[in-house]
Symmetry: C2
Subunit: 207 residues, 2 copies
């Protein structure tokens, strides 16, 4: 519902326009499907607005390439091919697993904790630079849950980030401090899943 009416008008001294454009920290959590998929759908909206979008996949295996990566990189290519700059925005897709793209390590990297910490360090650098308008931190709840990334640092960094930078974090078991800091939290709950009835994951649906 695009034209939502707020339940409460806060006495925060901000104009409606300022409040409207306040950047959001969003969390998609829960055991159901759609957490990452909805975050990549948000990237479509950002692209359409001409925003710079950065996707950071905190997954241990980089062998798996999901369909969204190819599709979003195709949209990025459309942006780059249009000299007028009016076709969408740039989209960068980075993933952990064999070293992040900017670290240029070889495929033998297996210290996932160090990799996750390096991913977060890079995101912090970009937040300071104001590099992107939308950051998708996919499955970032796990390195937090495993203690690879310090939750206090995450909350401090995200709540003190420069304006105009939206952040969406996905993954199960989101840390309570992250939920407390978030502006928007959606829980995806599994009501019924075909794997419960013996069906396996399939092409085009799961990846």
């Amino acid at each position: 519902m695009p034209q939502g009416i707020p339940d409460v008008v806060p006495a925060d001294g901000l104009t409606t326009r300022q409040r409207r454009n306040r950047p959001l920290l969003m969390v998609h959590t829960g055991d159901g499907k759609g957490k990452s998929t909805a975050a990549f759908g948000l990237a479509l909206r950002g692209w359409n607005q001409g925003w710079s979008v950065g996707v950071f996949q905190f997954v241990k295996s980089a062998k798996w390439r999901i369909g969204e990566q190819t599709a979003l990189e195709s949209l990025d290519a459309l942006h780059r091919a249009d000299a007028t700059g009016r076709t969408g925005g740039p989209i960068e897709w980075h993933k952990m697993g064999s070293g992040w793209s900017w670290t240029r390590r070889d495929g033998a990297e297996t210290d996932h904790a160090a990799e996750a910490a390096e991913g977060w360090a890079e995101i912090k650098r970009r937040l300071v630079q104001g590099r992107h308008r939308l950051y998708v931190l996919d499955e970032f709840t796990y390195p937090i849950a495993w203690g690879w990334v310090d939750i206090a640092d995450v909350v401090h960094t995200l709540t003190h980030r420069a304006d105009d930078q939206h952040v969406v974090v996905t993954g199960r078991r989101a840390h309570p401090d992250l939920l407390a800091a978030a502006d928007l939290v959606t829980e995806m709950t599994k009501v019924k899943h075909p794997m419960d009835a013996g069906q396996k994951g399939q092409r085009g649906i799961e990846w």
Copy 2:
């Protein structure tokens, strides 16, 4: 998680491959965000597989054009521009509100019940033809809830559709018979929303 292990192996006489490729009826419901966004994210995966994707938006106002439409139509254009047919699949985006594209009515159309019924009739025709591999029936729960489309007809049609056609239905208040017929149901639950704190919807996030 692409490589899911089923909880139960059913005695249905199907091979794993047959079960793997059984087309799904999916429902994204609940009061939270991400129902439609996750469905459009699935369209990215379908596009990447080279599938024909049909999006049908059951919204009353066609004035609003969301970012996903532009982005998915851009991917469709990439598909059409590649003579080899190897770049993604075709994506069609149809919406109610000023007459569906195939009805070619003028903008004065305001009988939403008739329009919704016509949208569903077209989807039925396409399901018989096997026109798409993925159908996104966006906000289709509402015309069902309002009685504009007969739930018994929807359930019969969807459970008897020809193979290889995935269907995802989005919207609040999904009919219990639809949920019973579905293979996968995810409920998006609002845990926290910025409109509760007085913030209005904004560009790139809500549309």
